[in-house]
Amino acid sequence: MGKQLLLFLQLDGKNIKRKWRSLPLLFLFPVLFTLLSAILIAFLIHPQEKNRITVGLIDHDDTPETEGIVRLFAQSEEMNSLFRIKEMSESEAEQLMEQGEISAYIILPKDFTANLYEGKSAVLPVIGNPNKQMESHLIYEIVESIARHIRSSQANILTIHHFASELGKNEEKLQDLLFQQFTDFVFYTLSSGQVIHEKTANNEATSSPMNYFSIGGLFIIYTSWLWLVYLYLYREIDEPLVQRMRLYGVTKLSFLLSRMIWSLFIAISWTGILFIPLHLLLDFELGMIDFLKIFVIYFLHGLLFLCCICIIEIVFSQEKVQLFLQLITFVVISLFSGAIIPAIYFPIWLQELASYSFSYEAFYWVREIVFYGRKFVSFLCLLCMTIGGNIILFGISSWKERLQS
């Protein structure tokens, strides 16, 4: 077995040397892929100024109060960061919507203020653009939250109105009082931010999402390198040759093992190359011994991941089925690690499920070392999983071997 493995290792090494030109492509692809995702996410988080969503506002009522409401919209924090509000007439709004210039418009109907004061049903319609549904719904959510503020002010104003009329104030004075109360409440709502005292709780280096996602991104890139290099080393061997090799006692496992070792070696060295600039850029305080620990964790994770990939290749004979299942495995293992979405946002049942996976365990310890400077790392769990995974791999392969011969 050892001799065969050595032979295949040499063979694969030669193979890599021969095809070395495509290796940089393999190196670059996951990196570019991650960059592409990062660009898309940046677009999502920071919408460009020129595509700030425009919202139309149509004021049919035209009273001092509705102007207050317009101001309430214009100064709302959520509204401001994402949207631009423009006052316009209804026909203008219709036209702009057809041209796709505005995502929605809000109508302040006639007698809106009067209805508000009298406690009659006042309705604030939002009309969305069917071609921009997501934005329309978002705008509606915000209008609804502003309406909630207005509703609570309205109840208070109506209460004041009730008690004032019980005191027997005359109509004109009441109207004045209501208007004054209304503007009061508008300003009161606008300054609601004072209720909360905001603090940030962290030291910059450990909790910026940039750091988290670059360490997570590296972890995912490493995992995809493992898989890609493993696939890259695939060689088509036709059935007669396999038969002949079997006669010499060569098992399929020995050339799979050689592929595993090569992909581990290449992926880990590439990760090292990428880790050094990242380390300098993000400025973590890591000693030599920490690097060693991270290396061991990466190694064990890689070994386990390749075990899964190998098992799939042994069990299923059709290449496209193998690849598809490997793809699913890759996606599931990457998701479970918590490197893409932090595991705390998963539902509880998924969190529990994920915590049994080796990738979760591995990334947990990487995080502990890099972010919290943990000195003690328990490799026991990962080590047990690695041994278990290898036993399963050997078992399945010898079972399959016996089945074929």
């Binding site: 653009n129 069917p130 909630r148 603090k199 709780a201 705390i344």
Partner: protein, 369 residues
Amino acid sequence: MISIIKSRWILWKKHWLANSLFLFLPVVATIITMTLFTNIQEDSKVPIAIVKKEDSPMADSLYEAAADLPYIRLFNLSEKEALIKLERHELDSVFVIDSGFAEKIKSGARNRLITGYSNHGSFAYTPIKEMLVSYVQTLTAQAKTYYTVDQMAGGKWTWEEVTEKISDIQTEQQLLETTFHLNSIAGNATNEERNRNLWEIWGYFMFISIFFLFDWQIKEKKTAILSRYAMMKYSYQQYVFFHTAVYTFMFVSICLLSAAMFHMLYEEKITFSLLWSMVMYTITLSLAASILSAVYRSVYVYYWTVLLISGVYLITSGVIIPTDGIVSAYPVISLVHPVYPLVQEKYFHPLVILFLGLFLVTQRKQKYF
């Protein structure tokens, strides 16, 4: 034509399991993914801690209000514990109800009643802060109302009477309502309630299915087989052409099956424009797969390329990361990426023309070996 279908059938029977797995993948995998998606989305909750530094009915009611929010998993911890957990990213954000909360509200003060802690990774901090602020605001507004009434009437009514009146008005009177509907003039109203995610996911699996099943062109191009085409009544070009047609027809029937399934399961409205765009999507991809598989000689390298392309396809299709912003900024993307005409139900599809042209050109260039 019949002989082609017959021979195909014989070939299919050999690997019927793998083949039918991929053929029905768009239907089966979409349903599985949708079920997982909705389950995860429903159960996903943001972990938040609220620290109660005082035990008053008002602080309790604020806590209860937060606990009622659907997207929050609420923890009641001590301040120290909560802050440690926040720093270790085990909580999204922490809110502290400071001592003297109820006292301050009743006396009409409203500044700095609660303290909110966030860190750079807090995704949900702002919306939850807004909600808590608006809740506290209703409490302080009640106090404000009480003081206004008190000023007018000079102590004629008590705190309880005023707040009771406010809640009466809130439940009895018709207060401001909002309504939402989509404009029916702009755009076609048919895709009003389309489940966009469903079609994006279906599009992805259709992509995998079509490209993986088009490997026949590579498998049947092996040198051992090539010499036999000379004995056939069809030329190699005709052989490839007919097979592409047969496969495309097969995928179109999968389209109809998927439409029927999704109509039953998710109550998707089946309209002509939907079916048309589904069929166009399928034809586009079939042509693309036929062109791509004509280039390769090794099946494995072909699968490999397909996987890489499918990765880029997936990221840019808007399933994982919503791409609305970038697409409206650069509408070119919706011309290049086949999933956008599918989702937007466009009748015309520039990619079809492109691939059809390419297909015909490569067909003529295919050498007769």
